[in-house]
Amino acid sequence: MGKIKMQGLSRKTGIDAIGEVPWGTHFCQLYQNKADLIDTLVPYFREGLKNNEYCMWITGEPLEAEDAAESLTKWEPDFARYLARGQIEILSHRECFAGGDRFDIQRMLGDLTNKLQQVSVMGYDGLRLSANTCWLDKKAWQNFYEYETAFNNITGNCKILALCSYPIDKCSAREIIDITRNHEFIIIEHAGKWELVENTRRKRKNVRKQKLEVKSQGTAEVFKATNADSKNRFLSAIVESSDDAIIGKTLEGVITSWNKGAEKMYGYAEREVIGKNISLLVPSERSDEISQLLEKIRCGEHVKHLATVRQKKDGSKFPAIVTISPILNDKGKIIGASTIARDITQRKKYEEDLLRLNRELRAISDCNQVIVRSPNEQSLFNDVCRIMCEVVGYRMAWVGAVEQNETKSVRPVAWYGEDNGYLAKSKVSWADSELGNGPTGSAARNGKTDFCQDFATDPRAVPWRDEALSRGFHSSIAIPLFDNTGSVFAVFTLYSTDVKGFTTAEVRLLEELAGDLAFGIIVLRAKEEQIKIEKSLKDSEEKYRNLFISMNEGFGLHEIVLDAEEKPCDYRFLELNDAFEKLTGLSREKCVGRTAKEVLPDIEPYWIETYGRVAQKGEQIKFENYSAPLKKWYEVYAYSPGKNRFAAVFMDITERKQGEEAIKRYATELEIANRELQSFSYTVSHDLRGPLRIMDGYSQALLEDYADKLDNQGKTWMNNIRDSCRHMGQLIDDILGLSRVVWVELKFERVNLSEIAQSIAIKLKEIEPSRQVEFIVMPGMEVLGDNHLLGLALQNLLGNAFKFTVGCQFARIEFGSRQQNGRRVYFVRDNGAGFEMKYIDKLFKPFQRLHSSKNFPGTGIGLVTVQRIIQRHGGEVWAEGAIDKGATFHFTLNQERPDK
């Protein structure tokens, strides 16, 4: 029974039998029953809670989590408060240690380091831990034992107190030895008291640490060595059982003693090295080190905790911590040196792991800050990639967007580190193909973290092997990022310079980070969406506001006024724009707040009825109406923005309306004129012809019945009357024909001009069979037009040609066509009388003739008719000719845009 007092930051254990211990103490208890556990663990944790330590109590049979909480509640009045602020965690071993045969040491250590980090971040002094091991069976024992060993390697330097509870009934002697070996001391309930049993080896270390200065001030009873003999025996036992190499040597460096630990560490048996020089154990590049160290010893100095490198028998090197002390003879003279060397390969690895985990944690913390602060996705990805490379030390980090395209590509969106064109060359896909079977593609496809443990050997890494190795990538990890629908939207990929560069603990941290990152992106996207919506809302609001103010259309928002029967009887102006004032001539001040009838007492009922329908039924209508009080026409679009309200957008269309009215008036006038013209034509046709016929009839009657009373002159004159009658009859017919050409409705169809011309030619020849006239008609001239009118035009043109070639011995009339300036030009050519070009203007004027009626009878209407017909077909007609050299009439027909 006693108390251990040590230097350093001592913590009260709360257990009387132990008292204070320094941070890093790992001890245990052997218990029999529930009472034993309550007796020790309740005060243990009470003390921890009081001293600002984070408490973690892993419970097990026979004191389960509920019992533990109950006991603490009973003994610690402030327990509820501690629990509420999260200073204590009570959990079952089932939650904490994975079940099954294997016990995952790496994971547990990772958890522990995590925990320590959190505890420190939360502001606690350290971690107070207790765990019940009742669940351990034979299979898990060895595993757990290794864990406890590893645990010691870590906890030695940490602010942690660990009390392990082992059920004594379940432990055999062998196991108790294991327990003893792994814990600094054990407490056992004995005769109603807790007794402390100390681990000799650990005790010895403590002794050595304190240069044997600390006396065993009545600490553990097992440690009461009083005489030299037993002391020597004791020390020898320590030397033999130590895992450290303990080597004796002369001042010249000749090895004189070699313990089991040394044998195990260096691989040499005792007999192989005794008498040899210590330099055997030192790598050649450090050969100077030994002489320097021996020199120090000769001067009586100690060499403490020298971090160096030593060499095994097989030539492999390992990191070691070496402590060298002079050996004095009885007279105090230095005769040699003792070397204690410890292989710190494992420790170094743990340290490195820890360091890396620490860096990872820092990276997570950095990343989380970035996640909170990033203004957008791109900068978030950029920052996270940068942190992973700069803070954690990965060779490269990138984020690839999983594209839903045909090639299923993974598009790099952000990267940092030793890229040097790697991503551009890698063409990663998430399809089930060679380029999609790397970690990134697989992670995207399967939604699971994937690795390439070694680029040099992993067959999946073939497409990227050379490029990766040349950039120092030896392993990689790819972690999927999930969006809020649970699908992978991106993959986060990291490259390490080490083969198998990602420990289990690291993977868990990285996955956690990836989760945070994905969450950050989801939040960011939601935020961006929100901002976009807000902005577009604001924009559209502003746009509408501007539109409202600046638009040329008048705008008014109104409220309908209802009478007792809920029928619209008036409306009130609520809001009006500038254009309203301009278009109505009413000022906003005079209108807003007042009703239509107040402003315009003579307003027509139509307005109120129409707007009433809009406001009450929500109809949207567009109408045109005249306002008598405003003396204006308006085009109005009205809709209802809410119950009993209507908005009217309107334009002043007075001018247009007046124009329309004028057009309507003209149209009516034109129609009347047309009707008059038709009736005039009728009159011409009927009434003017009648008198002519009678004049002619009587003239003939005179010539027949009174021939004996008329001399030759009288007869000639009578005949002149008759000629004039016929001529006037012809004139009347031609004028009527022309008016018909102008007014008749065109019927478009395919017209074969060649055929028409041929039949006209035949008829012309029949009229004067004595004449020799050659008609040449180009075959196959088909056009789109009015058959009757085009026939009439050809009749006139060919008839003219026939008429004006009367004096030719060899009359030649040609009808053909040619392509000219992109259009088809038709022509009728003759070799007849022709005309003087200076009179060409008169050619197409009615009643204008270039030849005397005597030689060439006619009314002067024919060419005008031709011109009207061609014009109605959208074409042009023109002529050329010369006296006695014939005439040519050209015309075109626009078949695309027929005149309607």
């Binding site: 009434d687 016929r693 009678i694 002619d696 016929r726």
Partner: protein
């Protein structure tokens, strides 16, 4: 050429004179009943007014009808002729100065048997009248007379 009666409906006395002259020149000596307007024609045909006592058995073998007449015009006359069972099948030849398509169409719609435009040249006119007379008086079989 038997006792078949030709009816001439025309308000213009000169036209009547010239038509009768043309008939004579063609040696058509049948009786020509002249009505100076539409109403007169209808009165004759349906034995009204001054014709109420005329011989009911005597119906014209052809009616030469002018269109433009005061009071009852030619179309109206034709319409009434066609709507009365007594005259329903009586041949009617519209003889007018008009060449208007609308008139021609309307004439046939109302049931005329022929539409002839009077030429201005008297010789031509005489020829037309001659042909008409020959056709309707000689060649054409008139509808059977009832009663």
């Amino acid at each position: 050429m038997n006792n078949k009666v030709i009816m001439l409906v025309d308000d213009n006395e000169h036209d009547v004179f010239l038509t009768q002259r043309a008939l004579q020149k063609s040696n058509i000596v049948n009786e020509v009943v002249v009505a100076n307007d539409g109403q007169g024609a209808l009165d004759y045909l349906f034995r009204k007014g001054k014709y109420k006592d005329r011989d009911a058995g005597q119906m014209p073998v052809v009616i030469l009808l002018d269109l433009k007449m005061p009071r009852v015009d030619g179309f109206e006359v034709l319409k009434q002729i066609r709507s009365n069972p007594k005259t329903k099948y009586t041949p009617v030849v519209i003889m007018t100065a008009s060449k208007e398509e609308v008139d021609i169409l309307k004439g046939y719609t109302e049931g005329c048997n022929a539409f002839v435009t009077k030429p201005i040249d008297f010789n031509q006119f005489a020829e037309v009248v001659k042909q008409l007379g020959l056709f309707w008086l000689v060649l054409n079989e008139p509808p059977p007379q009832k009663q």
